[in-house]
């Protein structure tokens, strides 16, 4: 019997939700374990970085990497797995587009440290102590990893072959992607392994979305009791459906809350936020500026709304404060 294909899982700057997503395959995970040889999964199995280093280049069929890149170590590991793998898969929103941790790109390291260790309400730090990446003690040093000013998506660090989107990816998406990769008939490099249509197109509420949508005023979710059967945009709620890729099973919509965009854009769109802005422009049927301002009052945080999961990977990438240094 030929060797089973080798597969690796790895995590960078992430919350652990992507690991839970794999565990959420539940009984199905036993089928996955039977089909592949998992050679590296720090959260679950024996591993050594040196073991990976000792493998022949390209000997791993596929490495699934979740989390954004915040530290040099994460970058090194991404490069190592790239070298050892035929296929590198960005798994989940953070690896795909930066994810929610990339909202930190609206600040820099110094501002983040200052808030976390000095100015938060319960912190008592009269001497202004900050964690040090290297601390002298008896002539030796205790180390902490330093981190970059800028959070990056995986493909801003190394070449990525495929993407599994979502915060977190859903079990059916994961199972489908693994099947595709093991099937051998590989899609073109760069493919996002989900349906390439906007969420609206197969939304259970599509029938209630007007052909020509005109919005007089956007409403924030806490301001309105949303009808459970009607298109949320038609109710004035900012739903990212028009600019977001489908495939999640409309979980948030089923929860009666608007899509926040975690699957990223379809292949026809370079920048999810820009796409959404143009969609909005066509929804606002006014000429006069005051009316437009009133309509947009319901979107008090455009960057955090349109780029909730995609700031690192977007055309904006980050707020300019400091250079992207080490």
């Amino acid at each position: 019997m030929p060797d089973k294909p080798k597969v690796a899982f790895y995590w960078c700057a992430s919350c652990g939700g992507c690991e839970e997503a794999v565990v959420d395959l539940a009984e199905k995970i036993l089928d996955v374990v039977a089909a592949v040889d998992i050679v590296f999964w720090p959260v679950a199995l024996d591993f050594k970085k040196s073991d990976v280093e000792a493998m022949e280049d390209g000997s791993i069929l596929a490495s699934f990497v979740n989390g954004a890149i915040r530290t040099t170590e994460q970058e090194e590991m991404a490069l190592l797995l790239r070298r050892k793998s035929k296929v590198l898969v960005a798994f989940g929103s953070c690896a795909h587009l930066g994810g929610i941790p990339a909202l930190a790109n609206l600040w820099d390291r110094e501002a983040i440290f200052d808030t976390a260790y000095r100015t938060t309400a319960s912190t008592v730090n009269p001497e202004g102590t900050l964690p040090q990446v290297s601390l002298a003690h008896n002539g030796d040093r205790v180390h902490l990893p330093g981190f970059y000013n800028t959070v990056r998506a995986l493909d801003q660090v190394t070449e990525v072959d495929y993407y599994i989107p979502g915060c977190a990816p859903t079990p059916n998406i994961i199972a489908g992607a693994v099947e595709t990769l093991l099937g051998g008939d590989l899609p073109p490099a760069g493919t996002v392994l989900t349906p390439d249509i906007a969420l609206c197109e197969d939304c259970p509420r599509l029938d209630t979305k007007p052909q020509e949508l005109t919005i007089e005023r956007f409403r924030r979710p806490h301001e309105v009791i949303a009808d459970e059967g009607t298109c949320l945009l038609a109710q004035g709620l900012l739903c990212m459906g028009p600019a977001t890729r489908s495939g999640c099973g409309h979980l948030c919509i089923n929860g009666n809350m608007p899509c926040t965009g975690c699957f990223g854009p379809t292949s026809k769109v370079r920048d999810q936020g820009a796409k959404y802005l143009s969609a909005i422009a066509s929804m606002l049927g006014f000429e006069d500026e005051a009316a437009i301002d009133r309509a947009l009052d319901g979107i008090p945080d455009p960057v955090g709304t349109f780029y909730r999961y995609g700031l690192a990977g977007s055309l904006l990438r980050r707020r300019k404060m400091t250079p992207v240094d080490a």
Binding site: D24, D46, F47, L103, S134, L144, P145, G146, I225, N256
Partner: protein, 517 residues
């Protein structure tokens, strides 16, 4: 002005240090980061070869408190859940309750019940994850068993494959309740100020009731298993009681009006190391009681009881160090709110010699008591006719300014605190995550184990397992670095001599295998 200089100087110093660290790392593989999923312990010896200092370090910082600024408050339940994908429901619910406080809005009864239903299902499935997959292997398979068997596969081998499948299925069904009611299980979407996003239907209630009834039975089974395996073995009980895992600290938990633990809502009660009530306060007053201390050698901050001031890493009545999580909650309680949990609570304290119990490893037992409590509460709520009342939202009308919200996360008391402008845009956020409350006690556990096991420069390999058991009992969540599924967290211990030279380096991988380097 002078403070600004200090910041710059400190920053400059940090950058210099970073360069030095990177230079060193080329020679030695730095194991501290999640790169290899390793936590790191640095131990320093004095001239006589005795432990002078041990550091248990946490390499986590993502800066949520900073990038919350400028976001609309109503987005916080979904943004802060990304702090942890294993316990997203805890952050989601703490944030949602903070929004209630921020907008001074009281949700309708059905909304509160729906939230607590989701929360009870979450508490049960998360505790089951820890009991069977993370911490349980120490006891179910046994602390003396070969390390390679001390994982979920070992648990399944011990309890039988049928039971193993039942564990997986029970967790799946409990998580399906969260998906059904809360939209998503990994990062739910139900929470809004004044209620929840959608009602529960009669059809859904029928399914929830079925799962809840089975969950209570499964919790009883889990307690029986714990009794058989642990209480049936005097060696295990002795281990729980051993001094290496004992600290006399304060204990904190959220309680109802009868001082029974309530995971979703209540007042915060703190008892002293001698067991008496030290304080009971409303969440909004937390700043009078809880403070965070910064050490330069870890990204995690160390919580303590503010009136004592920071006394260093020391326990006892004069120290302000406190503990949270299952054992702390039970220590801070007078009773449990449900009958089966109450029975189990009494049995635990009778066996361990009364309250409070200071033995860290008793957390595993307390966790099983809480699985019973969570599933019984889940069943009460599932059976409640009001659960399907369609009125699940009170629209806020007040102008927002400031709010505090607290829940008991599986790993302990979780605080969210937001200050907003009049449009509800976050100006400042403060988050005290459950594990932080335990970080001082955890650091003490590690140092105590190191001091107990190392003498005259001789390092016992047993230190790795012992130290690991000490902190795994807290079910710590350091940037998820320690969410090691099969029950063994990979670890590196470095021992340095008085001149700073590395005397030895031990690595214990996630399968339990030991490597001396």
């Amino acid at each position: 002005m002078s403070e600004e200089m200090t910041t710059q100087e400190a920053w400059h110093q940090g950058s210099q240090g970073a360069k030095a660290a990177y230079a060193r790392r080329r020679i030695t593989v730095d194991p501290i980061t999640r790169l290899e999923g390793h936590g790191k312990i640095d131990i320093f010896l004095d001239q006589a070869g005795e432990v002078e200092r041990a550091y248990f370090q946490v390499p986590e910082l993502r800066g949520f408190e900073k990038f919350a600024e400028g976001r609309p408050a109503e987005d916080m339940p979904q943004i802060t859940s990304r702090i942890c994908g294993v316990c997203p429901t805890a952050h989601h619910m703490a944030a949602t309750k903070t929004l209630d406080a921020l907008y001074k809005v009281d949700p309708p009864p059905a909304a509160k019940k729906i939230r607590e239903l989701v929360y009870s299902a979450f508490m049960a499935e998360d505790h089951l994850l820890h009991f069977y997959f993370l911490g349980g292997p120490d006891f179910v398979v046994g602390p003396e068993a070969p390390a390679a068997q001390r994982n979920i596969l070992g648990v399944i081998a011990t309890v039988g494959e049928e039971t193993g499948r039942q564990v997986i299925a029970m967790r799946r069904r409990l998580r399906e309740i969260i998906t059904m009611v809360g939209g998503k299980v990994i990062h739910p979407v139900l929470g809004l100020p004044g209620g929840v996003a959608k009602r529960v239907t009669a059809e859904q209630q029928t399914e929830i009731r079925r799962t809840a009834a089975d969950a209570v039975e499964f919790a009883r089974f889990t307690l029986d298993l714990f009794r058989k395996v642990v209480l049936g073995n005097p060696g295990y009980v002795e281990l729980i009681l051993s001094d290496a895992f004992t600290h006399r600290t304060y204990y904190m938990g959220v309680m109802d009006e009868k001082n029974r633990p309530n995971f979703y809502d209540g007042q915060i009660r703190v008892v002293s190391p001698e067991g008496g009530e030290w304080a009971k306060f409303a969440p909004a007053d937390y700043l009078d009681y809880v403070a965070e201390h910064v050490e330069p050698w870890s990204y995690v901050k160390f919580c303590y009881l503010k009136p004592f001031g920071w006394q260093g890493f020391t326990d006892g009545m004069e120290s302000g160090i406190f503990s949270v999580a299952p054992l702390a909650r039970l220590n801070a309680a007078d009773a449990m709110s449900t009958p089966l949990a109450q029975e189990a609570f009494e049995e635990m304290y009778a066996t361990l010699g009364g309250k409070p119990v200071h033995h860290t490893l008793a957390n595993h037992w307390a966790r099983v008591v809480e699985v019973l409590n969570a599933t019984e509460r889940l069943k009460e709520l599932a059976d409640d006719p009001e659960l399907i009342d369609p009125n699940v939202r009170t629209l806020p009308t007040e102008t927002p300014r400031e709010g505090v919200g607290v829940v008991e996360a599986p790993r302990g008391t979780l605080f969210h605190h937001y200050v907003t402008d009049s449009r509800g845009i976050i100006e400042k956020a403060n988050l005290i995550v459950a594990t932080q409350n335990n970080s001082a006690r955890m650091a003490m556990s590690v140092e105590k184990a190191a001091k107990g096991l190392i003498s005259k420069g001789v390092v016992s390999e047993g230190i790795l397992n012992k130290v690991e058991m000490a902190f795994r009992a807290y079910d710590p969540c350091h940037a998820c670095a320690t969410h090691s599924l099969p029950g063994s967290m990979p670890l590196v211990v470095e021992v340095h001599g008085p001149a700073g030279e590395t005397l030895s380096r031990l690595r214990r991988d996630s399968d339990g295998s030991l490597h001396r380097e």
